[in-house]
Point group: C3
Chain length 436, copies 3
């Protein structure tokens, strides 16, 4: 598969440009912002289907909330000056704020304000999907500088029964067995968490569509939590039957580190592939456990759901200073090279799963590589080193270890083993166990 650094860099640049396009859209759990986002993604993935589900629908333990349509929200001071205004950043309004237009004192207003004393210049990201309230988010410095009121607070929005949308893309291939990608489209203007997820996922889907994958690829663009629950409520038996490996794509855009968070089971093929890729691409990556989870793996790996979904990230949610604030931007945090690295790691993990086969050597004893032009025919001290990796690969082609298993055993990148195995298969020295 076509996974050079240069190709990854081009994908990173493409993803970053797409993120710039999507940045100003006022995304939330539902509403026009989600639809605009999905429609923009459709331009690059025409087969993406936009699905919907009605407010009030029961989804396992949850109920699909009302649809939220924000037009504008602002706070005016006594002079009619708009001191906080969602036209500047979507983050200024608490997500799912109910409509309001009230005049109130400085003290009354304060009960509806959210700021971060430790990051006084940042606008925090706050939502209240399941309890009706309204509020504004603003820099702590601004909050502290507000004189006595009165103030007028306006949330010009609708919060009433409607629909919740998500996108689904299936790239069918020879095998009904599937690789799954899930990412979310419910975050307003933030970059690592979370525009990086949908844009890298889009790049992966476009790349995969051009590759001769063995497995069918299923990709969903959903609102976090309620979206994965909705998708599971509609597709769980099929997913359990067909999913070989899945990846939750989130926080995949900055260039500071790589991170791994396992599935609940911890030892699925998705876990193995992600761990393998990061061990070779970024040996010092950050390793988390199931106890550190906080994204849609919570649903995909819940008891009784138990899908093989692992999470390969750059800087993990909650672990970088700009997380869930206006500081998480497309300039200083998420970069083309950060997105490129995330793309490359996930593409390699997908390829590792997709191309994983169990090979068997067709001879008893070692094959004679020399007569096949695969081995130096004069034995001098040290010459054996050159073919050692090939011999190690062959020595584990016993029908009990897949290429990924072998790659872990001999501590070699599986993408190198794919290249090494090809001529051996072509020469008939190795054969696919499935076709034996």
């Amino acid at each position: 598969m076509d996974l050079t650094d240069a190709f990854a860099a081009a994908q990173g640049a493409w993803a970053h440009a797409l993120a710039r396009d999507l940045w100003p859209v006022a995304r939330s759990l539902s509403g026009p912002g989600v639809r605009q986002t999905l429609q923009r993604l459709q331009q690059d993935m025409p087969d993406l289907r936009i699905e919907q589900i009605a407010s009030g629908t029961q989804v396992f333990d949850w109920t699909v909330p009302d649809e939220w349509t924000l037009r504008r929200a602002y706070i005016e001071d006594a002079n009619g000056r708009r001191i906080v205004d969602t036209d500047n950043t979507n983050l200024h309004v608490v997500g799912y704020s109910e409509p309001v237009d009230v005049t109130l004192s400085r003290a009354e207003l304060d009960a509806h304000l959210y700021s971060l004393p430790d990051q006084p210049d940042a606008v925090p990201y706050v939502t209240s999907y399941y309890k009706r309230r309204w509020g504004f988010c603003l820099p702590h410095t601004l909050r502290q500088s507000l004189p006595d009121g009165p103030y007028r607070a306006v949330v010009d929005a609708d919060l009433r029964p409607g629909v919740l949308n998500y996108g689904e893309l299936v790239i069918p291939r020879a095998s009904k067995r599937e690789i799954f990608l899930s990412t979310y489209v419910c975050h307003p203007s933030m970059a690592n968490n979370e525009l990086s997820g949908p844009v890298v996922t889009a790049a992966l889907a476009r790349w995969a569509a051009t590759q001769g994958l063995h497995h069918t690829l299923r990709v969903v663009f959903i609102p976090e939590t309620i979206g994965s629950l909705i998708y599971l409520s509609r597709h769980l038996p099929a997913l359990q039957e067909t999913m070989v490996a899945g990846f939750n794509v989130t926080c995949i855009g900055d260039d500071r580190t790589y991170s791994f968070l396992p599935s609940r089971a911890g030892d699925t093929r998705a876990d193995q592939a992600a761990r393998h890729v990061l061990r070779h691409m970024a040996p010092d990556h950050d390793r988390y456990t199931w106890l550190d989870r906080g994204s849609d793996e919570r649903q995909y790996c819940a008891p009784g759901v138990d899908l093989p979904v692992a999470t390969l990230m750059r800087s993990k949610y909650g672990e970088y200073p700009e997380y869930h604030t206006s500081l998480d931007d497309l300039d200083t945090v998420v970069t083309p090279s950060g997105l490129a690295g995330g793309f490359l790691a996930l593409a390699r993990a997908i390829a590792a799963v997709d191309q994983d086969v169990t090979l068997q050597v067709t001879t008893l004893g070692e094959p004679q590589l020399g007569k096949r032009g695969l081995y130096p025919d004069v034995s001098v001290k040290g010459s054996a080193q050159d073919v050692r990796r090939m011999m190690n690969l062959i020595s584990y082609c016993d029908g009990a270890h897949s290429l990924l298993d072998i790659a872990d055993k001999i501590d070699a990148p599986v993408w190198d083993l794919h290249a090494l195995a090809a001529p051996l298969v072509a020469q008939g020295l190795l054969r696919n166990k499935r076709s034996a």
Copy 2:
């Protein structure tokens, strides 16, 4: 269950007072000292049954020895002065000494003397249950100061066929599955090894009797080794069928450390519970292996017996300087707080086993804690921390992990999980797998 520090402290004080009562009784493998001890314990546990077995009875590879009745033993010097006298401490006579009344030289006497050059002020504890001899134990300083004799040595005792006694207490509960406690009553006046065992076991039995235990509790007060063999010879098939976990209660009274010695199998529910409790109560506790054993686990875990019996101690036998000497006392070694700590650790281990259930979450995907008042309904940075432990618990309620398994997985004290689980069960979010 009622396991506050204050409750444990009260139990430690109660146990220490009981130990004071039992201190002067001349216990040995058999005889009136054992009966007096059991009768005193009956005052606090009226359901304790005192059993007996005849001398000469064959018990597996062993034979129940003759009964030993000591009245008094002493050494008189040439002036009729009693220089060593069991009226001062029971330890002065070798346990199971045969009756004797002889006059002999200093050199002849010396062959019957036992002392410790390294602990010259201590009276050592010496027994000879299975070979007939007689002897006296004394401080090394005293031994070295003895002038030439003659000396008169008197052991006023009976050593002849009789019975060997032990105590058995069963607290029946709904389940026929049992938790087992075993402790020994054959040691004369020593405190950590071994009055701490029976007095803490008595406290545990009295506490358990007031609790709504699920499991039946079986408690034995026996002479070490021969007592456990006798009990096994009479009850082994039933014990193998019903025992969920057992604890050998010994060396549980000083306040210097905690110790764990596993069963032979090493991974029984008793081992898991004891390890769990100590990891949370005393992370730096001393860890021993089966190779360090030296108490009744030798019988309970012998090949073919294989009961799930682990040993949770304070300072282990053989590992503290006062061990098996007159220095092992109720003033400097065993303290109310030492006994309280031992009581608390064992009570927690018993509760961990007794209350261990396998719960299953009743929803697919995460439950919505918010609508149940279990989750903050506004999402701000950091708010998720508050409910993380509850979510971790729920995430492992998959029907495959018991509460104790989950406590180990999420590194939380199982007693905290019991408190967390209760409202979730009450709300129907979790259900007991047994009643599913």
Copy 3:
């Protein structure tokens, strides 16, 4: 079994003398040198059978090469002076050089020369079994000092269809289950790799013939790689059915370290025995993995072959400076004490496998050692230490652990456990599970 240090020292001296005898023989993959070597070994092992296979025979993926008969090879300078001559050392000719008698320039000659710039005084060991070429090996200093030619290069040899030989010795015993030794006889005048292998193997075979082994011993003296493939092609099903453990005997003669290289499976009885022996004889020995392999374990452990063959060495091939050069000699590298240590380690590994039994204690609970004279009958502080190892042994005689398993569990040399177990079996306290 008779495995004192003195006995091992005598075996080391015997093996060193045998190596001196075999040193000058011009061994290669085939030809008179191999036959002379096997005939010399027959003098010490009359039951050794010399087998042959015809050139051209197909052996799995390989073809038995032509037979090579070297008479002499040399380079003459313009003055007729023989500046390189196999009469000085066999290593001077590239193994399997085709016959040649040519006069050529200095530059033309150089294409046929092999030397080691980093070890300028050493003659390297070079072979070309499967591609026709000719060449000479010489010290780099000599090569650099050669003036302009012309030179005459003569390889007086035959390379044509014939046979390839190997030796096989079977020492039948009561059990059809076998212990296997394999060593190679294709290396010319080098000492650790590889005269140490055949001479230590000969010492082991002679020792084993005098012992009451339970298992049949099968020993092969073969050319490396092609020899093991030939042997497997003729005997694989029988070997797979009967082999309990096998050892590849190579690099077993210097006195600098011990080394272990596991089978591919890594956990066979051969691996366990070799690891056990080295852990007790040489705790700091060098530990290698399957990825470090380079000898006949490559064939014995290949997929589909999967024999339990491990390799216990002194300094491993490729890991000591004199490897595959004329510096690997019988004076500075391989010594009688080095061979003695190798003999002792392998003999202990063979004995550990041969005498491994699974014992069961015949009592429930601990046996009373006192009444059998096996335990001190007076209990004083510390007396229990003396019999602890015996009690540990008994405590694991549960029918599920063999003596070697127990030795690993209680961290005692298995040869000590054999001595401890014997009286317990004799007294009926332990019985062999096989005869239960």
